[in-house]
């Protein structure tokens, strides 16, 4: 049944993408207004979240994170895509809290598929914020795996897969930097960019 429903989902997704063309809404591109948590107490999570299929590589649409530690404040945050390239970050969040990717969307013109991830299990893309400062989460995409997707007919292989860092960290930092101009984060981000630059 899982394979069958996934096949239906993929068929709808394929139709949606064919009709929609390249540019779909992927969620917020800037941080919510208000005070930005300090690098001394907060963690800035960033990385790459994509949606890869036979039509190409796109940003994951509306990835939404939930805070799961019952001893901390509840929280729901959309990942922010500062550019249309899959780079994302979460607004600086209190260190010590635990976040999990709760859902993302595949929105078409007439239908929207919600990919609910549930609350069980900590995956590599579910950050537990152990300490304040920068935290590169990694590069992940809904796909059939790091290499093959065209011609892939084993639907059970579809899921969120990690990708080796192929400049994703640097791209994410460069994309988010303008939103942290003149904040305590700016020198920290610039220092990390300098480390990564070839």
């Amino acid at each position: 049944m899982h394979g069958r429903s996934l096949a239906a989902t993929l068929a709808i997704a394929a139709l949606s993408l064919t009709i929609l063309g390249s540019c779909v809404s992927i969620g917020p591109s800037t941080m919510p207004k208000g005070e930005i948590g300090s690098p001394g107490t907060h963690t800035l999570v960033y990385g790459y979240l994509g949606f890869h299929n036979v039509f190409g590589k796109r940003p994951m649409q509306y990835p939404r994170y939930i805070q799961l530690d019952p001893d901390a404040e509840p929280g729901l945050e959309y990942a922010i895509h500062p550019k249309y390239d899959g780079s994302f970050f979460l607004p600086p969040l209190p260190a010590g809290t635990s976040w999990k990717l709760l859902s993302f969307l595949e929105a078409g013109t007439n239908s929207t598929t919600v990919y609910q991830q549930g609350v069980m299990g900590r995956n590599a893309w579910d950050p537990r914020l152990e300490k304040p400062g920068l935290m590169y989460l990694g590069a992940f995409a809904w796909s059939a795996g790091p290499r093959a997707w065209a011609g892939e007919d084993d639907y059970s292989a579809w899921g969120i897969h990690p990708f080796p860092d192929d400049g994703y960290e640097l791209a994410a930092l460069e994309a988010l930097l303008p939103q942290f101009a003149k904040t305590e984060w700016e020198p920290i981000i610039k220092a990390r960019i300098k480390e990564l630059e070839p």
């Binding site: 429903s5 709808i12 139709l15 799961l68 709760l102 007439n110 609350v119 069980m120 900590r122």
Partner: protein, 189 residues
């Protein structure tokens, strides 16, 4: 085209959920069977924490609910789940008996505060055949233990509370009620 697919999906869901969950047992019809089960989660789910995510417009927060994916073996509706009701108490699921009396039981789920976003999905990958003449079948008491805020699984065990289940059944239906244990086996791949 997509609307048609969406409508068909919705319709199929509506049609495919005939299994009724009861918190008190009822007498099945001749072509039906009642499954008895209970789900426990240890430690207790921090429901007050999750209630903070609930829609403030709701007057009451729904109870955390367990669901069993139960279907006639080979049926196309294998992924659909029937509610067994609240945690820590016996629930009763009435289903139609297929001709071969064989059922698939691929997974069980717990929806915290009955919210589909807050789901815990536990594969069990079981199947069984209802014995001839059985009206009430005890599937077991399933105990899910987890270790941290991510509900990282520690174990999923099946505990036998047959005597309690039988007592509950007889209290509701009288001393003639008969309950049998399901002979669960691992589903063939």
């Amino acid at each position: 085209m997509k609307r048609t697919i969406a409508a068909a999906l919705f319709l199929s869901l509506a049609i495919a959920l005939p299994a009724a969950a009861q918190e008190t047992p009822v007498r099945p019809k001749a072509n039906e069977v009642v499954f008895v089960a209970k789900v426990r989660v240890q430690p207790a789910i921090p429901e007050a924490f999750f209630a903070q995510y609930s829609d403030a417009r709701q007057d009451t927060v729904p109870a955390t609910t367990a669901y069993l994916s139960l279907s006639a073996k080979g049926s196309a509706w294998g992924g659909l789940a029937s509610p067994v009701g609240r945690l820590n108490r016996f629930g009763y699921i009435t289903m139609r008996l297929p001709k071969d009396r064989a059922f698939s039981f691929p997974e069980l789920r717990v929806y915290i505060l009955d919210n589909g976003y807050f789901s815990i999905t536990l594969p069990v990958n079981l199947e069984f055949t209802v014995p001839e003449g059985a009206q009430y079948v005890y599937l077991g008491t399933f105990v899910f233990a987890y270790s941290d805020e991510y509900f990282t699984p520690v174990s999923l065990s099946r505990v036998d509370e047959f005597d309690d289940a039988l007592a509950g059944l007889r209290a509701a239906l009288g001393p003639d009620a008969r309950l049998v244990r399901a002979a669960l086996v691992e589903a063939a791949p």
